[in-house]
Symmetry: C2
Subunit: 320 residues, 2 copies
């Protein structure tokens, strides 16, 4: 577990119960939700403070799991009514989730109230959730150093104005490729990233599923590979795990320099690559810090190539 020198990371998002079917299997009634995945991934790097709501039907074992990851649950409300539920499936194209049913349950009337010790959070992850709730959380935080938001197609369609308000108040936006194209009305991810940066965030990270991720910033373009898994058992939560790993690492290091954000993208990719190896958060239950470190080194090998041999090639390229 991370030590107490790490800075706390506040994460708001959905916590829910999922039914998921993929070409490699099917699970029902398992732990899901953006804040669940993001918090667990982040907890490998830094203490996490969770903001979310669950119903009175939420299984005790999931609460115990969060506690075992040292996640602060003072901001997790448990209220009468049904917990948020999502059911969906994936075909062989693991980049595309197909939703069958979404039941907001107790999220319908959720109004986040931050415990006082959450309000001094330096690092904030607004995981995928209604942008209105993201704004209500931001309003209660006194002086954050770095805020990142995630979103999804549903909010781009139904709450575009609120989403644009959120983007105006964050430092980093993370979004997947299809959603970036949808939000900006352009096929070019380079143009989409520029447009999103003009809405507010200094940095934009576009997640491309099996094709890795790209980060755009002031004078910065960074492309991270994906990890070559033979099989993706369940892609649910990959994007949330990415965001959690990214922000968990940033909060742990308290260093938002360009070079450190590049590393954070790799740690996010590492956590996403573990997430998809099993259904729900099963892989996270056995994951060790040593495995995280080994996979970071594997990413380094995957992306490695040497600098140009300046003398020999340039001479030959230029000389007649």
């Amino acid at each position: 577990m991370p030590d107490s020198n790490s800075s706390s990371l506040l994460i708001v998002g959905s916590v829910g119960i999922d039914d998921v079917k993929t070409p490699l299997g099917e699970v029902n009634g398992v732990l899901g939700g953006a804040a669940s995945y993001a918090s667990t991934a982040a907890s490998f790097f830094t203490p996490v403070q969770m903001v979310a709501v669950v119903g009175d039907d939420f299984p005790r074992e999931h609460i115990d799991f969060f506690r075992s990851r040292n996640i602060d649950l003072a901001g997790l409300q448990q209220v009468p009514g049904p917990t948020f539920r999502w059911s969906g499936f994936y075909d062989f194209d693991v980049n595309q989730a197909h939703s069958l049913d979404t039941q907001l349950g107790v999220f319908q009337d959720f109004r986040p109230e931050l415990p006082d010790h959450y309000r001094d959070a330096d690092f904030v992850l607004l995981a995928n959730i209604d942008p209105t709730l993201q704004l209500q959380v931001l309003d209660q935080i006194r002086n954050p150093r770095l805020v990142m938001c995630d979103t999804m197609n549903f909010w781009i369609e139904s709450k575009r104005d609120e989403l644009i308000k959120v983007l105006g108040r964050v430092n980093v936006a993370v979004i997947n490729d299809g959603e970036a194209r949808q939000l900006c009305g352009t096929f070019s991810l380079v143009k989409a990233a520029q447009q999103i940066r003009e809405m507010g965030p200094e940095f934009v990270i576009i997640k491309k599923g099996e094709h890795g991720a790209v980060m755009f910033g002031p004078g910065l373009h960074f492309s991270a590979p994906s990890y070559p898994l033979e099989e993706v058992r369940d892609p649910t939560g990959a994007g949330d795990s990415f965001a959690g790993g990214f922000m968990g690492y940033v909060a742990h290091t308290q260093d938002p320099s360009d070079n450190n954000l590049r590393r954070a993208v790799i740690y996010g990719s590492v956590m996403a690559s573990f997430d998809v190896e099993d259904f729900s958060q099963n892989r996270m239950k056995s994951l060790t810090p040593q495995e995280v470190a080994a996979r970071y080194r594997a990413f380094k090998q995957i992306a490695h190539f040497e600098a140009m041999e300046e003398l020999s090639l340039l001479e030959r390229l230029s000389g007649e």
Copy 2:
């Protein structure tokens, strides 16, 4: 131009005349064909020997262009009849070419006859063309050191057996992601690459268009980013330019080590990124060795991230 210490690269493939329409414009009767694109890209690194056929309608200016690139045309037959013609278009998804018409013309009865000085080629690129012709070329080469083949969906469907024979005789196969999935009947590119490697080639490179390229080899997995162009004016020939840049660099350095093949993937990506900036081979006409070198350095920046800070993070990740 490359000096005479570089080793010659033999390239066989189509040379033709294209009509191309993209969201950013339209050209008619321009220079096209896999061997054209590949030879021009390779000519920035090493002397090229071209094997192909054109009809008596083939414009003189294209011959002059090949000559200006120091491409050996002793193996380019000019015969009575119409030159190979392709017409097609691209929508905003530049990864997907839509063919409108293909006229084989003089390629219908082409039987490659290699000039004697071609038969000692050390490096061979079997660019996209009928695999029967690829095999006929291979049969005439005495003792090649490294052979790479490219192909396309049309041959996977219509000449699968011959294509598999080709794969059994090459060191490196290059193929795009959709074609790899089609050839192997699996969605997983990792599995597809394994299957193709079992057919013969030690190395398999999967081109992913705007998502870069990945190379698989013995104990080797390398992921190359793409260059972040705001607009792709004409994607035609990107894959051929990649193959030409890759093999041109390998022939130039005469070094098929893993580390050098990684560099070759980047040079291939560099040449592909220039190709798509303009229609046909227009960009290549003004391209300088200094621009090639500068873009290689840009790729290095795009892919760069630092190694894990072993002490601080591992200590914290592992320590309670």
